[in-house]
Symmetry: C2
Subunit: 207 residues, 2 copies
Amino acid sequence: MPDKKAPTDHPVHPLIEARWSPYVFADRPVPEADLCSLFEAARWAASSYNEQPWGYIVAAKGNPAQYEALLSCLAEGNRLWAKTAPVLVLSVVNLKFARNGKENRAAMHDMGLAAGNLVFEASARGLSVHQMIGILPDRAKEIYAIPEDLEAYTGLAIGYPGDAAGLPDALKERNGKPRQRKPLRDFVCGGKWGDPSPWVLKKFASE
Amino acid sequence: MPDKKAPTDHPVHPLIEARWSPYVFADRPVPEADLCSLFEAARWAASSYNEQPWGYIVAAKGNPAQYEALLSCLAEGNRLWAKTAPVLVLSVVNLKFARNGKENRAAMHDMGLAAGNLVFEASARGLSVHQMIGILPDRAKEIYAIPEDLEAYTGLAIGYPGDAAGLPDALKERNGKPRQRKPLRDFVCGGKWGDPSPWVLKKFASE
């Protein structure tokens, strides 16, 4: 495996440091008990008015017809590598509150919170998740008979990270590339937008 | 503290099980080094095209003018309880890609991923986060001179959980209420939307 540990400026939990999005997965199924725990973790995310606007469609390689159907809902560029994942998932968001049909402004954000929990639980179990916004929502809507107010929103490829040796060069490079992020001073502000909080510029003794 | 441990149907990481959203915080400041680690955790979330569409405006009680300004950007109902938090945050989302100005469909979702990381890191440090969609984005835009394509999106109250004894009855009840969620069979599907995946109905030996 490439060394993908985040080069952090401040200490974070080892599972946050370790998470990354592989472009190749090992040919090894994910136990059903682990899958349950992944969705259980998503289940306990916070959401606005406890609406829980998230849903999931799951397909494992053990059921080839279901797997192929789900793979066909991913954008072509993602199918190329996601097809090595033993489990594929579509996340589905309900954009309206179930109780009154009004717009839920937090729906997509809260779907992200649930995904964050799922990804964290995956990391704790040695699993990796590669999330994709590149899916075909209309195709998913048709295949899975998704109701009107709901929308297939992201794809998730889930499995154990695999050997990049057989990947095409472009994907091999993306798979092995060191992780990079903006520094805190670029996005953590105090008095006005764009003025970094003074403490983000400090080094702390504990580090 | 009330017992808010999630009554899970499948095992999850203890920090996911333990997280909840308090309505009262202890009168105890959050060390700056811990704050840095919270935003560092957010920093390493995944995002579409590694856009990192998230930003934060942070105010601690140690700076009363900044704290009052941020408190004034929360919806009135949230101000009632959030004012006990030693740290308040507005999360700000960039709805367009910085590199080409095009709409970023994943922006709000990815902001949720970053928030998930932040909340998890907080839990690991004994801190609690109560997230709110009820904020006043226009007021925030004005006070903090937030640029046109960006939007203040959620509020976060951060601190150590406090004693609910002094809370008004309605908030005391919400603070102590057991956490509830839909069961997995209601939102994890297989063949069609609404058909539960067969394995979510199973009990596993490891539990």
